[in-house]
Amino acid sequence: MDRTKGYVKNGFFPLLLVLFLGTLPFYTPAYTTVSLTSILMYVALTVSWAMFCGPTRYMSLATATFFGVGMYTSAVLGERLPFLLVVVCGGLFSFSVGLLTGFICLRLKGFYFAIFTFGLNELVRNFALWWEARVAHTVGRWLVLVDSLTIYYYMLVIVSITVLTAFIVGRSRYGLILYSIGEDEEAADHIGINVTRYRTFFFALTCFFMGLAGAVMATKWAYIDPRIAFNSILNFTPVLMALFGGVGKIIGPILGAGILTVASEVLLSRFPYYYMLLYGIIFIVIISFLPDGLIGLARRLRKETLISHAER
């Protein structure tokens, strides 16, 4: 009963937010939903990155790869299947690639995982470039267009499912398992946790959400090629957003993704020439001065005010 009560208490505000976002298109101009869609995309990617990489401390730098797998699924199957099926297929393909990757790098500990996933994206991109040029004889692919409102609702649903999953996993024993893997993998193994199975499965699960997002977003971008779909900046951006917000709680990655997406859109429209330079500077500043993200900052500030109150 306590658990149900907890869900109701914690679920009230998010539910309200989803309802608000769901009815938003009825009373705001069309532009709002278009720009909200890109925020939703980053929230989906960041939350799914943080779901696995936060507790286990494995730094995956292959978000773009799984997102790109979803995009290419959408490009290849777009004309043959209904949109809903295409999106689900994007997720499933991404899940399988994630499962395979998880199996392959079972032996890799700690930092080598980051290097491997970083290389994986380059491998996939170069292979895709070669394949498109030599086998498929194209450069990029055009997608079946879907209207922006549908894309918005799809992204809203995907984000809701992702956040809900992250929340449930975080509260369940699986969340504890992931944390124990992050604390000490060998110890987790010794107390009877099948580290291999959980590690691989949850990594693949986060890839599933990335694939879903990719399959939907591809239709928004209308044209993709391997350089767009497997752009390495998308490997790092979700990491930055998650760290900016703070990975300990779900609200961290959501806040981080939301704030940084808005900030980068403002910067892009105001300083188009200096945008990437500013992006680099912001990246360095956040990594250097906000190691625990906004959540850590808030906690630190609250602690300080508590101390000053106590002293008074």
Binding site: R57, L277, F283
Partner: protein
């Protein structure tokens, strides 16, 4: 398969191998010793190449003389970046694992900063200059003069650097810090200073490689990234902290990519990645690692 082609592939393979080895030895100092997986490593190659280009265009300085110019400039840039950014991050990280993650992400930000300063300053256009661009006939074979010079100087630099690490006092301090930081500190080695020097030397090697690259290739501000990837592959191939491993790894990868380049150009990077993935999976400590 004519004899000319064989020689052509062999020379190109050796040059590329030498350049890869230089860049990878630099990254190895930065990651193997200073624990910074410097994602912006390729950008130092680009900066070195552009310094050489502008020295040649504006002041008519011989590219080989630029080597003397590039080295110190890049060393100081690297030392400065380590002193300010990475030492700060190191002090504020609770463990070495955390530091590795944060410093890598910070260096990714650095990649964009350096790249975009270069783009804004020097423009996106492709630049090139011609240097010793004439053929040399030798034993009935034809070589391009600049390639032979590049090969010679690359090998000399590798040799000098190797002797430096193996025999100089600083080199010994670097190896000591690579093996065990705490013991090195206890033996009276100023470890923070050594780590800074390692980062600076890493940037310097990348810059020198860029100097050599600029003699043969066209330059753009975006040229650095592929060299980073190559350096990472070689780093894994030879084992982190193993300078000699990076040297051999670089030569092997240079040979392999050049051969693949002649057979199927589009796949040369893919083949290097497959090697990279296999090494990581089968022998993560590197080919020469025990």
């Amino acid at each position: 398969m004519s004899i000319t082609l064989v020689f052509d592939v062999a020379i190109t393979g050796l040059i590329m191998g030498g350049i890869y080895a230089l860049i990878a030895m630099g990254l190895n100092l930065q990651y193997g010793v200073a624990r910074v997986l410097n994602v912006s490593h390729g950008e130092f190659v680009m900066v070195g190449a552009f310094i050489t280009y502008f020295a040649h265009k504006l002041f008519a300085i011989n590219p080989l003389v630029s080597l003397v110019l590039c080295g110190p400039i890049l060393f100081i840039i690297g030392l400065f970046i380590h002193r300010t950014l990475f030492q700060y991050i190191r002090r504020s990280s609770e463990s070495l694992d955390v530091f590795e993650g944060r410093s890598m992400l910070a260096s990714f930000g650095l990649l964009y900063v350096i790249q975009n300063i270069a783009l804004l300053w020097w423009g996106p256009n492709i630049k090139a200059y011609s240097y010793l661009n004439y053929p040399i006939h030798f034993l009935g074979l034809t070589f391009e003069a600049n390639r032979l010079v590049a090969l010679l100087f690359t090998l000399v630099m590798i040799l000098v650097f190797y002797l430096f690490v193996a025999h100089s006092k600083t080199g010994k301090a670097i190896r000591a810090a690579a093996q065990n930081e705490k013991s090195a500190q206890l033996m009276g080695i100023n470890v923070p200073a050594v780590l800074g020097i390692c980062f600076g030397l890493g940037a310097m090697l990348a810059g020198l490689a860029g100097c050599i690259v600029s003699m043969m290739r066209e330059l753009t501000p975006l040229m650095g990234f592929p060299y980073l990837i190559i350096a990472m592959i070689v780093l894994v191939l030879g084992g982190t902290g193993n300078i000699l491993g990076s040297l051999f790894g670089g030569l092997i990868l240079g040979g392999v990519t050049t051969v693949v380049m002649y057979v199927e150009p589009g796949l040369s990077l893919v083949v290097s990645y497959v090697i990279f993935a296999l090494i990581l999976l089968i022998k993560p400590e590197g080919l020469l690692g025990g």
